[in-house]
Symmetry: none
Subunit: 196 residues, 4 copies
């Protein structure tokens, strides 16, 4: 990579960092390209040299961030086979990055198609951990004979709903912190045989 290329990459990173930060505060939809350029300390036009459409910037951000987050989640989840433990760790992770995930949950329907696909794809990656754990547990007779995909739709759907409505439901607090127990308990009751 020549010096030229290095400088280019450096600028890209500067832009992405600035965008990410603003994005967490205000969401992608309410962050203007000018704001991003200003925060990045580059010219407004420069941004469009690196990312010809606002859309391509957001795409790249999610690919980077998504990759990082997916990596982290893989580390967090990969040696965990119990569903309860998995859920615990997943929710802890969401709680830590709640600002980020709440924005995504809310803005998702307005993202460009390509980005929606990628986000959905990534969610599938995360679901697969649960899928595996559930199937194993089912095979071992620890869980009820549920349609695991359906159960996960309920789990992820509910979490998404809570995140996107967090402002109404939890104000400035963490909606995940607030509902963690409820989510875990209810999901465990869904999959478990026994009553408490």
């Amino acid at each position: 990579m020549g010096k030229r290329e290095q400088a280019k990459q450096r600028t890209r990173k500067v832009i992405i960092d600035a965008a990410k930060e603003l994005f967490i505060w205000n969401g992608f939809l309410n962050t203007s390209t000018k704001e991003i350029a200003d925060k990045a300390g580059i010219a407004h036009g420069t941004l469009f040299f690196h990312f010809p459409k606002k859309e391509s910037l957001i795409l790249e951000i999610f690919d980077r961030e998504g990759m990082y987050i997916t990596d982290q989640l893989h580390q967090v989840l990969h040696d965990t086979y119990g569903v309860e433990e998995l859920l615990h760790r997943y929710l802890l992770f969401l709680e830590e990055e709640e600002d980020f995930f709440a924005i995504i949950a809310r803005e998702f329907p307005y993202y460009p198609e390509k980005l929606k696909q990628r986000l959905l794809f990534r969610e599938i990656g995360i679901r697969s951990y649960f899928l595996t754990a559930l199937n194993i547990g089912k095979a071992e007779g620890r869980y009820r004979n549920l349609d695991v995909t359906a159960a996960l739709t309920f789990l992820f759907g509910t979490i998404n709903y809570l995140l996107s409505h967090r402002e109404q439901l939890a104000g400035k607090q963490s909606i995940i912190a607030l509902k963690k127990e409820l989510i875990i308990n209810t999901f465990l009751r869904i999959i478990n045989y026994k009553e408490d």
Copy 2:
């Protein structure tokens, strides 16, 4: 009602109809007052004679539609005490008005506070039917000893999630039609003792 009043109501209706149609296509947030006026065939300013703020137009639409829907739902749900039947009817209704509900699910977080409150209030009304049915069933020993509120959070959260992601999950089709069975079966398993 005099002729004058009739004409006024006609115009109001023309506006509301235009707005509703555009709104179902593009959402409230992406529909401009000018677009509505053009579609309604009236002057831009006329719209503001009938609805002084964009918000008041949307509020009226929701109140009309909401009242109609709530009325219908009450009729549909009011003499139904079995949760399964209740859910069936509710989903059938959502399916019929899916365009409308999908937009709300997607845009909700961006609505003005007043509208959010009203929508939330209406949802509580609907939930109460399920709450009653669940509590009766629980008391009669037909359902598991679940935290019913938690169970309903899962149910409504999941439905909301499906609606707001319908484009991705079902394209132009009805997401409710597609997932109805899954929703019902899973929810019944959540609340029932027995396995299938």
Copy 3:
């Protein structure tokens, strides 16, 4: 005057009263015809039956109000020949009606030409009291050999300036109350021989 005509006059009065009140609060320029009609309890269109232009309404108001005020001032000033007493009474009167006069002073340059003429004409009527008193005093050797018209330009110009800048100079207080002494003393020094 037939019943019809009576009703017409009654409506005119209702409109004028409403307009006057709003005008003192917000000025003529910031009062909309709709506001006036609402406050008067008549239809918006009715206002234009009685006053085909907004301008004609304001013209009428000033004629009525102006006549009343001029009458009052005449009563207050007519048997007063000392300039000091005259000024005292005039300022007292301004102070009592300061809201009204401050608005006029500020808005004057934006009034329709016809109205400006009339207001100016009225001011001349008031000035004439001072003119007479000053000339008599001069003839009797009580005042300096001043150009009385020039002196009055200073007096009325200054008062007008204070009224139109009252917000900056006196906030919510009465600028006349605040500067009365200064105005009187300075004007007396202008016209008197002796130092204090």
Copy 4:
């Protein structure tokens, strides 16, 4: 200054010149940003690139003009200690820029607070020349034992009044040219011992 910067300054100047011209004709309040852009031969949006708010454009105009004027006035007044000479020069200057000052006098009460402050501040700067000259003259026994602040309120108040009413009092002519002698003579009589 690079070519780029030059071009920018040129555009700024084009905007300011257009604005100033329109402003002298119609006042700031009755000149729309679109009008200014059209007259300047630039896109409407471009105006907001250079001046993010209408207020900032007007502020800049006043600062430029005000600075120029203050500079000139300082040059004109700074080595002048006689009040008569001072007044002469000041009025001559007002006469030359009368279009500008007349608009300010008229619109002042409607300006944004920030602008009012600045204008008031500038006036104080000008007044101080007179204050100094008057106090010296008083100390040297050349002028009467007047309250100088009060005298200046009369002077500036009157000038302001004449400017804001110029249309009525002088039509298209210069009100200052018309009343210069009157102002000077009267003010001198106010401060002087002797009669003419």
